[in-house]
Amino acid sequence: MKRILLSREIMLAFAIVLLTGGIALRFPGFIAPNNIALVFNDTSILIILALGQMAVILTRCIDLSMASNLALSGMVVAMINAAFPGVPIPALIGLAIIVGTILGAVNGLLVWKLDIPPIVVTLGTLTIYRGLIFVISDGAWVNSHEMSAAFKALPRSVIAGLPVLSWVAIATIGLAFFAIRRLPLGRSLYAVGGDPHAAVYTGIDVGKTRFMAFSIAGGLSGLAGYLWVSRYAVSYVDIAGGFELSIIAACVIGGVSIAGGIGSVGGAVLGALFLGVINNALPVINVSPFWQMAISGTAIIVAVALNVRSERTKGRIILKRAEAAV
């Protein structure tokens, strides 16, 4: 029973283990603990974003604006840091999350109050947020030397053997597990996406739940914004351009159904890790990193095909013998 419950995640975990194992056969260095930690650290931001996107997709919506949100929130804190190096870093992180949440809430409000299809709303805000970066920065870069040392150091500083960036991802995963499992909102996400019509019968406010999901995705994009600009020590208009689709890819590979209501924290994390492993493995096995995009594209198609197969309804069960067979 448990196995059925976890099958998608187990299959994916198995694929990742097989992949890393295969690589390790010829390049044992790849599974050295510090390299695995490196891969995880490299995937941390994608994991954080995929968890936010999962909340949105669970409610039968989609957020294409996450990467733009990330870049805008990141630019805001980078510019503040450059202009006022004295502002404490926790305040900047808080600000990044607040900015991100507001940008996400704008998406959510448009979906909730005006019933505009999420894909249109976030397609619009994708370009608007990206454009706003140019407006506030005037197209200028915030370079490494303009950022304070503390600003850049935080994600890299090592605690208990892992960089803070990894710890943030781990904390986000933990929080997501907790929120999905223990908060009534977490369960509502599934109900709203699984059957919005039926959710009304249970007294769940569908629009408000979607609004919350967009706000959460926005908040996590904001957090990722700070992490991105501080880790790469640069901020400009185009950072994380096109990343919105990688985030959706991570979710889809992780078994989150684009039709809503199906998906798990473990799946989304594994989906992101799968992409991370591929990204990091290619240079190790001497395959041109230019293969990365084609491989992740194929992975998405295979993952969606597998999801659709398992979700396909097989008609009503009317015959007694058929019911017995289920």
């Binding site: 029973m1 059925i4 419950l5 499992r181 223990r182 908060l183 009534p184 369960r187 509502s188 599934y190 109900a191 699984g194 059957d195 039926a198 009304v200 019968y201 249970t202 007294g203 769940i204 209501g261 199906i262 097989k314 008609g315 009503r316 069960i317 009317i318 015959l319 007694k320 013998r321 058929a322 019911e323 289920v326």
Partner: protein, 501 residues
Amino acid sequence: MTDLPVLTLSGITKTFPGVKALSDVSLSLFPGQVTALVGENGAGKSTLVKVLTGIYQPDMGKILIDGAPVIFASAIAASEHGITAIHQETVLFDELSVAENIFIGHAPCTRRGLIDWKTLNSKARDLLARIGADIDPNTPLKELGIANKHLVAIARALSVDARVVVMDEPTAALSHKEIQELYDLVDRLKAEGKAILFISHKFDEVFRLADRFTVFRDGKMVGEGKIEDTNSDALVQLMVGREVSQIFPNRTSVIGDPVLTVAGYDHPTEFADIGFTLNKGEILGFYGLVGSGRSEVMQALFGVTKPTRGVMRIGGKIVIIRTPAEAIQHGIVYVPEDRGAQGAVAGLPIFQNVTLPSLVRTSRKGFIRLAKEFALAREYTTRMDLRAASLNQDVANLSGGNQQKVVIAKWLATQPKVIIMDEPTKGIDVGSKAAVHSFMAELVAQGLSIIMVSSEIPEIIGMSDRVIVMREGRLVDELARKDITAEALIRAAAGIEEVTS
């Protein structure tokens, strides 16, 4: 027994575009008593349940609890006022566990607002035990069969500490043993002093359980009283409300040679061993309870689903139908039960709906000729006596009855041999109903053949030349015109040897 009602509805009216679902309905529920609500499909029972549970807000009328007026703005409000319901539609979520499905929307929480899984699971276990369901609360819902899902829905209704329990056909999907357990449960709830509104099509359970009855017809309350003062004949009389022969067209059928022969149709989950013959000029009724597989068989005939086995002959020749397009080519058309989802294309104007399957005839070399389209649409909508502002009007703005006329006109324009009509008068007003019926009579008089799926006994009796009864995906009985009686139909459909009364 006290005679003060817990809940009273008075003068409730609810209108939808084109249909008056409830008009000036009153109803009282008493503590410790079961009130049976009976009526044909479309009589307004489900609408009443939705009004009672806060899904719909009535246009007019009052809801009183202990004599004080209340307003149910949402499902939550209704449940806070102590009303709970087992809905006919599933209000369950496949991806959540059984326990969660029972408590979603009102899960037990710790003081910090977190879901208390321990309490939730143990409460769910208690509830399931209480209704005699042997289900592990941790199981994901999607692993359950239909009957068990239904038990979960019942447990969900009881998870609210309610004074009023509404049960909308709670035994429809249950087996004999589970039904007995449900009866015990109803008895226990009664003993606890709960007021129960019990909706059912099965007279045996109505007489087994109910203390009082209320009869609905066409959105109106037409009779009520104590169950010991009535009998099944009287109830049927109230439900139908008129002499059966009066409302259906008088016709003398001239039945010809076989048009369509089906043999050995099988499907892995939906139906098994379906075989019958349809003759020229005949109306063949298909009767059965909701969910007995009638629509599924029809959709297989129409090429929507594929049987795993079976042969179809049209006019003696074997034909293979894999898509609706091929069915139409062979002269078989299907008026679906779900008009909104499968019949009318809302968003397209009336004339485009009518010409959709006949575009080849109205066009030249693939190019649309509007004048021809309008002419064809006009010809058939006039025959159907359609009421509309213009042929260019969006079909979505028509009433249910007129939409149905458009759907039928669409099929007549293809000049079919066999028309399959799935609940042809479901949810349409009385006037349109009569129009559809007389039109069906006209069609068979012209030599067409009709398969009519219906859950309405008067319609089956009034229209059919012959009736096939289905139960659990199989054909269980066939009645010639002279043998068609309400009792015979109900007995065959429910699979009972003798109707208890």
